[in-house]
Amino acid sequence: MRAERSTIVFNVMGYVVITVLTLLCALPFWLILSGSFSAEDDIIRDGFKLFPDHFSIDAYKSVFSNPAQIFKAYEVTIGVTVIGTVLGLFITSMAGYVLSRKDFKYRDKLSFFIYFTTLFSGGLIPWYIMIVNYLDWKDSYLALVVPSLLSAWNIILMKNFMKSIPDSIVESAKIDGAGEFTIYWKLILPLSTPGLATIGLFLGLSYWNDWFSANIFITTESKYPLQFLLYKILASAAVLKTSIAGNLGADFKPPAETLKMAVAIVVTGPIIFLYPFVQRYFVKGLTIGAVKG
């Protein structure tokens, strides 16, 4: 019975801690949701409220003022995110796998070679020149996908996940005469689902949230991804109030404050759809079962 009591204690602790943290994360989001449906004036005067004093969908009207454009932007974002995530995951997992192989002589050196890029950077300008002047990707979807494919972080995390796969699997497969790529594709990948799901999630999120690439590379409006389009709406709303635009004849006065919140809500959409899907891959015992089978 001792074991059971400790389980109860553990469960009580667990539920309390997780519930408290969850509330801390949920409350601000609720406030944003409520704010996005509030009247602009109320937000400026009183700040956040649990429920809107005056219900208003003005902010959403501003966001969706041009529905055709928003839908196009969704298309671009989804396209870029899917392609980027799949391709990025493939290259990341290959690299991670190679670096996790203990018999691969240069793994430490190459790990360092990759990690080094997170330490030093030449800054924005040379990177921009590379992509625009040498690769000629200005206003091209390639500029949205390729430069964000890999990150040293993801590769090293991947390597770490794959390190926990027993060497014996590779060894026995080799004895069976399987090629390196086959081992990776047929054996390692299926055993790495939690890792793949994690890195895939991170990649997906970074593509989904990326407005900066579009900001500097994309000049055609129909190629704007969703995040950039939304940030553009926000930035214009903010600039309309500053003195630079003093002489901009603006009879379009978007509700700048509630707009920020509506944008946050619109942007967070994917997690609600994507995350439960990813969670399916966080299943314990997958690894061991496969090895035994």
């Binding site: 943290l21 994360c25 406030l31 956040f48 190679v98 590769i155 939690p194 439960p276």
Partner: protein, 304 residues
């Protein structure tokens, strides 16, 4: 060198598999890295990167001459250490709980919700902070007044801001980091736990002796990965919360905000790059040192 070619011939498939990644980093990181040279020049559009006048270390002067560098470095390092350690430990705790609790629906929902702050921009975080702490009608001061207590003007005191900033940073990264640990836990074979259960180990013992040790490499790895950026700050976090409030800088100024202020009026590519290079160099030395120590202690945990 012949060793290298032998290795190449032996493992050519492996080399081919990692080649795309290497090419990527050469094209998008190593070649653009020539830009660090900006730090040593007086940039002009006529000359471009290599035609501009070479000025040696002159661009670094503004960092060192002010005398603020010590305090800035201290603040930046301490903030980052707090972010890294508190963040990672909390994420680890959450992951352990989430992996052991039974309620399926509860787990899924809470996990999703914990991810939400990741999507909240720092602009909105700044708005929250303002709404919570401002003197006139902030939530906390309104509460204090209602309780008949003296209101407290947060914006005139430096003390609370360290905690506020650390709290919001940890809060924002909670869901994201938890996923990593959760994935690592999923990689742990169930056999260990089953065996321990048969031996009569209770849940605390199992976590203490099985889960935690097996998560240690991931923990060390994440710390090591973060250490390289120890001098780089989350500019947006500090900027949106503190803004131009010089009164709070003793406690809240980090290198990024300092450089921003120094160059806001008269931006200079050379000086901006110089500051970045200083941060990089510091991080580089630190991470190489710590990695070397980790390697001595436990070779497997090292980053490279």
């Amino acid at each position: 060198m012949s060793g290298f070619f032998k290795e190449l011939a032996k493992n050519k498939v492996l080399f081919l598999m990692i080649l795309p990644a290497l090419l990527f980093f050469i094209v998008f990181s190593y070649i653009p890295m020539v830009g660090v040279y900006y730090a040593f020049t007086n940039f002009s559009f006529d000359g471009g990167l290599f035609g501009s006048e070479f000025v040696g270390l002159a661009n670094f002067k503004f960092l060192f001459e002010s005398g603020a560098l010590y305090n800035l470095t201290k603040n930046t390092v301490l903030y980052n250490l707090a972010f890294i350690f508190i963040g990672n430990i909390l994420q680890l705790v959450c992951a352990v709980f989430l992996s052991e609790l039974a309620g399926k629906w509860f787990k899924k929902t809470t996990q999703s919700i914990m991810f939400l702050p990741f999507f909240i921009s720092f602009v909105l975080v700044g708005a929250f902070v303002y709404n919570l702490f401002n003197f006139e009608n902030g939530v906390i001061n309104s509460l204090l007044r209602q309780l008949g207590m003296q209101p407290y003007d947060f914006y005139l005191h430096t003390a609370p801001w360290k905690y506020i900033i650390v709290f919001f940073n940890v809060w924002k990264g909670l869901g994201y980091g938890t996923v990593i640990y959760l994935a690592a836990i999923m990689g742990i074979s169930d056999e260990y736990h089953e065996a321990a259960k048969i031996d009569g180990a209770n849940i605390f013992k199992r976590i203490r002796y099985i889960t935690i040790p097996l998560l240690r490499p991931t923990f060390v790895l994440l710390i090591l990965l973060s250490l390289g950026g120890i001098l780089k700050g989350q500019f947006d976090l500090f900027w949106q919360i503190v803004g131009n409030n010089g009164m709070l800088y003793d406690a809240t100024d980090i290198i990024d905000t300092y450089v921003y202020r120094s160059l806001a009026i008269n931006f200079d590519i050379g000086m901006g790059t110089a500051a970045g290079l200083f941060q990089s160099f510091f991080g580089f030395v630190l991470v190489v040192t710590v990695n070397w120590i980790v390697r001595k202690v436990q070779k497997d945990y090292a980053l490279f």
